[in-house]
């Protein structure tokens, strides 16, 4: 009798155990076919040059993640491929708003990736905050934007204070007798340009450099002769600015025409684009620019990115924003994996705790969600962007520029 009862109990237990996987399987929600992530990027219009680079970075990162099976999401206990939906905002911030609304309400993306340029991203991150969708973007450098108390926006890229620090690091790396004594700040009248001007004065005073001249110009300015002549007659031996990409070319051409060749010229924006050398040729030599990412970086995964990109696009020079875009996808994918779910709030919470080694170096975020990334500056040296300041490594030393006819 007892034996019979034991048999019945054992049978029930075995039956239950056999059913367990099915029961557990049933209670787990069905995994989506893909993790949708959306971006509105300038693929046409005046910001298309940089926008295409950012989009390429996103696409190649997505390809690499999917080759590995996708992102592991604990909620579904499986790897799910990532799908990036990219819309063209035509370099128009109004379109950015509409496209991000579409990605949110029609495409139901789990998160946004940023576009290209501060004007587009400023419009975009406000929509992300309104819709409570995590946003990870890379081409925004003004800190002020991140002082609004927004919770859903993250920018793993260099900000104004980092760029100015890197500039002074570059000056410090020169032999003492070659260091510039008088710095001219050509200050673009934008929040970013003004922030940089503020940090130039602050850090310059702390590090023993004189900001001898501050000349302001607007975003639409195309004649810089008065600024250049003021710097030349003032004996400034270094120039710092954050011009728009077309202005960065005009400035160099006009500096050459006016025979003004300071040993150090640093344009944070413009010379960082892949097309800069193609357009400017040898005149680009010795120009310092933002060095957020280069093909030479020895961070894990970078070699694969570079090899695959070159094979796919048949292009030797890779735009800086390709690597930055790639890094942004890495940061987002890592946050989704750590969140273990596709719920937006959980992804947002995971992003705040990011500590990840990406193709552009280690990324963490401060309390404003500003990315703390390696401060880095590059210099064009014979058609190649060499890393000249970086906390982790450099590929070349800063070279003071000779007169124009010797470049």
């Amino acid at each position: 009798m007892r034996k019979g009862k034991f048999g019945i109990v054992a049978g029930i237990v075995c039956f239950s155990l056999c059913l367990m996987p099915f029961v557990v399987g049933q209670s787990r929600a069905e995994a989506p076919a893909s993790i949708k992530v959306g971006a509105s990027i300038a693929l046409t219009g005046k910001f298309a040059g940089g926008g295409v680079d950012v989009a390429d970075g996103y696409k190649i990162a997505m390809k690499h993640i999917n080759e590995d099976g996708g992102i592991y999401v604990k909620e579904y206990d499986k790897k799910i491929p990532i799908e990036i939906i990219i819309y063209d905002d035509e370099s128009d911030p109004n379109k950015t708003v509409a496209r991000l609304e579409k990605l949110h309400s029609i495409d139901k993306v789990a998160a946004y990736l940023g576009g290209f340029s501060s004007a587009m991203n400023t419009a975009g991150l406000a929509i992300a905050e309104k819709n409570k969708v995590p946003w990870v973007g890379v081409t925004i450098a003004a800190e002020g934007v991140f002082s609004q108390g927004f919770k859903y926006t993250f920018a793993p890229c260099m900000f104004s204070f980092m760029e100015v620090t890197a500039f002074f690091d570059a000056l410090d790396s020169l032999p003492k007798d070659q260091r510039p004594k008088k710095i001219a700040n050509f200050e673009l009248q934008s929040d970013w340009g003004i922030e940089c001007g503020k940090y130039l004065k602050k850090f310059g005073a702390e590090r023993g450099y004189e900001i001898a001249l501050t000349e302001k110009y607007a975003g639409g300015t195309s004649d810089f002769s008065s600024l250049i002549m003021a710097a030349k007659t003032g004996g400034c031996d270094a120039v710092f600015s954050v011009p728009t990409p077309p202005q960065s070319m005009t400035l160099i051409k006009q500096m050459k025409e006016l025979a003004y060749a300071p040993p150090v010229t640093c344009f944070i924006r413009g010379p960082d684009l892949s097309s800069y050398w193609e357009v400017m040729g040898k005149d680009a030599n010795y120009i310092l620019t933002c060095g957020e990412w280069t093909a030479d970086m020895k961070y894990p995964g970078n070699e694969k990115l570079v090899t695959d990109f070159r094979a796919e696009k048949n292009k030797e020079i890779i735009g800086m924003q390709v690597g930055c875009g790639y890094g942004a996808v890495q940061v987002l994918a890592d946050a989704i994996e750590r969140a273990g779910t596709l719920k937006r709030d959980a992804i947002r919470d995971a992003l705040t705790k990011t500590d990840l080694m990406t193709v552009r170096g280690r990324v963490t975020f401060d309390e404003r969600n500003i990315g703390l990334v390696p401060y880095s500056l590059c210099q064009w040296q014979n058609g190649k962007l060499e890393v000249v300041t970086n906390p982790d490594y450099t590929t070349a030393k800063v070279l003071p520029a000779p007169p124009w006819d010797q470049r």
Partner: protein, 321 residues
């Protein structure tokens, strides 16, 4: 004067549909697109009153749009309730139009167009230099942001613009404006005070463009201060009005619909070549339908009539032979 039922029922039905539309539009995307459509109808209709009906080409609409956006946003962010802030913005736009219009509209020829373009460019540069940063809605507004009140604001402004422009152009004042467009000398000889009517058209146009600028400031959570001043706001209303049909009430409405809807469909489906294709469509319209889309039926009728006339003549010729 007796109104035909059709003249009341159709607009009433359209209005009822527009007021009920948010119930059927699921998701913020469609509401955003419709808000954008209403905005373009308003600024194009504003341009049409001065450019299409009065013949004064304003190429500096961004200054009037932008000044209102700037004043509205500054006052609203400063704690003034939105509606008074919006009216102050529109008033600023009117004041600017008077300051520019009274001297500039006395001149004939292209001076007014060149003058307004110069004002738009100066305004853009001034704002870019004086307000280099970004304007954000205060946190409390972001937390409670909803598109619904924005939708109704854009709708009311658009309907007011259409109604006022329609009333003006169908009045004696409208006749005076059209006479100025056709021949200023003849209008003056007939006793029309041309400067007065030009200034009135400019003021009405700027008021509604100003309201649209204020609504823009209400709509966007964040933007660079200079963005409402970019020259795109000068050229897009002209483009839209020409696509739809210049000097007609329906022209800017049809033009804005095509501009917003077609551009969106092209952008989402054709990728980077969309700009090229849209440009080709625009050139096609201007070349073959100079009266805009609204002139297409007339053009087709003309074409068919000519074809019919031609074949009748050929038949007649054959019979004679």
């Amino acid at each position: 004067m007796s109104l035909k039922p059709k003249k009341v029922v159709v607009p009433a039905l359209i209005m009822a549909v527009l007021f009920a539309l948010p119930v059927f539009l699921k998701g913020d995307y469609y509401l955003t697109m419709v808000c954008s459509l209403f905005l373009y109808v308003t600024i194009s209709q504003g341009w049409n009153l001065l450019g299409g009906y009065t013949g004064q080409i304003n190429v500096g609409q961004s200054a009037f749009f932008g000044i209102s956006a700037l004043v509205t946003r500054l006052l609203w962010a400063g704690g003034i309730p939105f509606i008074p802030a919006l009216l102050c913005g529109a008033l600023a736009s009117v004041v600017l139009s008077l300051v520019i219009g009274i001297p500039a509209l006395r001149l004939r020829g292209h001076y007014f167009a060149i003058g307004t373009l110069a004002v738009a460019w100066i305004a853009f540069l001034a704002v870019e230099n004086l307000f280099p940063g970004v304007t954000f809605l205060p946190g409390k507004y972001v937390a409670t942001y909803s598109l619904l009140p924005r939708y109704y604001l854009f709708l009311v402004i658009m309907l007011s613009t259409i109604i006022v422009v329609s009333l003006v152009v169908h009045s004696r004042m409208g006749l005076a404006m059209e006479s100025i467009r056709e021949d200023e000398d003849a209008a003056q000889a007939s006793g029309v005070n041309i400067t007065k009517y030009k200034v009135i058209a400019f003021v009405i146009s700027s008021f509604f463009v100003g309201l649209a600028g204020g609504a823009y400031a209400y709509f966007h959570v964040s933007y660079y201060w200079y963005l409402p001043f970019i020259l795109m706001w000068c050229f897009e209303p002209i483009l839209i009005t020409f696509i739809g049909g210049v000097g007609t009430i329906w022209g800017p409405i049809i033009g804005a619909f095509c501009y917003v809807a077609l551009k969106e469909v092209f952008a989402l489906t054709l990728g980077e070549v969309n700009v090229l294709i849209f440009g080709a469509v625009f050139i096609f319209i201007i070349l073959f339908f100079p009266k805009g889309i609204i002139g297409v039926p007339e053009k087709l009728r003309e074409y068919l009539f000519r074809k019919e006339k031609g074949s009748r003549a050929a038949r007649q010729k054959n019979m004679n032979v």
